[in-house]
């Protein structure tokens, strides 16, 4: 019970640190993200610094996890086990890339930007949720060729 409470608190705190980081980084602003992608126009390299900082620090966390048998508040680390490069991975990333390029928004900043109370954030996030639900409720018979991520007890 105490562990369950701790898990929720960690999720809340981790989300808040993440959202605070996105705000500090300047990446709540969709135009800055689009300027990063605008390599043939007015390119703004900021997002590369964001990604570099994020990957470097998260790498430390994932390496530290290898020395632990389990996370502090759970019985195992939940990691995607797949290694194969399939059509769904490429097609999904391409579809995501078009939406990301058009809007300059991706899921994390979209959720965080709701706090600013601007209509465009809500329109984008509502439709993003619709896209997620369409994928997650896609009829099996129409075979979207995507296997669910297998979570298993594994090391980072």
């Amino acid at each position: 019970m105490i562990n369950a409470f701790a898990r929720f608190f960690v999720a809340l705190a981790a989300g808040a640190i993440f959202g605070f980081g996105v705000s500090v980084s300047g990446m709540l602003d969709p135009m800055r993200v689009r300027d990063f992608l605008d390599v043939t126009g007015h390119f703004d390299p900021s997002l590369a610094f964001v990604l570099a900082g994020a990957v470097a620090v998260s790498r430390v966390g994932f390496l530290a996890a290898r020395r632990l048998r389990r996370p502090l508040f759970d019985t195992m680390f939940h990691l995607p086990m797949r290694q194969d490069i399939d059509f769904a991975l490429i097609a999904g990333a391409a579809i995501f890339g078009i939406g990301w390029g058009l809007s300059g928004l991706c899921p994390a900043p979209a959720i965080a930007s709701l706090a600013l109370g601007l209509v465009p954030s809500y329109v984008f996030t509502a439709m993003m949720l619709a896209g997620i639900l369409i994928h997650d409720h896609w009829p099996q018979s129409l075979n979207l060729a995507t296997k669910r991520n297998n979570n298993a007890n594994a090391r980072a």
Partner: protein
Amino acid sequence: MPLDYLHSLIGGSLIGLGTGLFFLLDGRIAEVSGIIGGAVRPSGENQLRNLSFLLGLFLGPLVYCMASGGWPVVHFETSLEVLAFAGMLVGFGARLCSGCTSGHGVCGLGRLSRRSIVAVSTFLAVGMITVAVVNRMGVTTP
């Protein structure tokens, strides 16, 4: 401009810190599109944890506002129709490839996952092509 880059680096490091803590303490990957999917699927404790993370994400800019005395700067220059279409693509695409900029970008690259390296390269390339095409056609000018 160099100060902007410093902010980006610090902000990015904080994103990495949130991601690392979530994994070390809760054993979970901070994959935001997956977390959103999990937050609307009835699954007991998982659902509650996902909702907690999203609530935290929402509170992040409020903390920033309290700490700095001003909201983060945002500009929306894209029409609502295009934003709506883009939102649908982002949500669907992220779930189809099992990750977005947080899942494949921050976590996947942090773990040196092969699938994530392919996914990030793909959405960066397609994103760059999309912006190049759109800016030449002026599609997003309201």
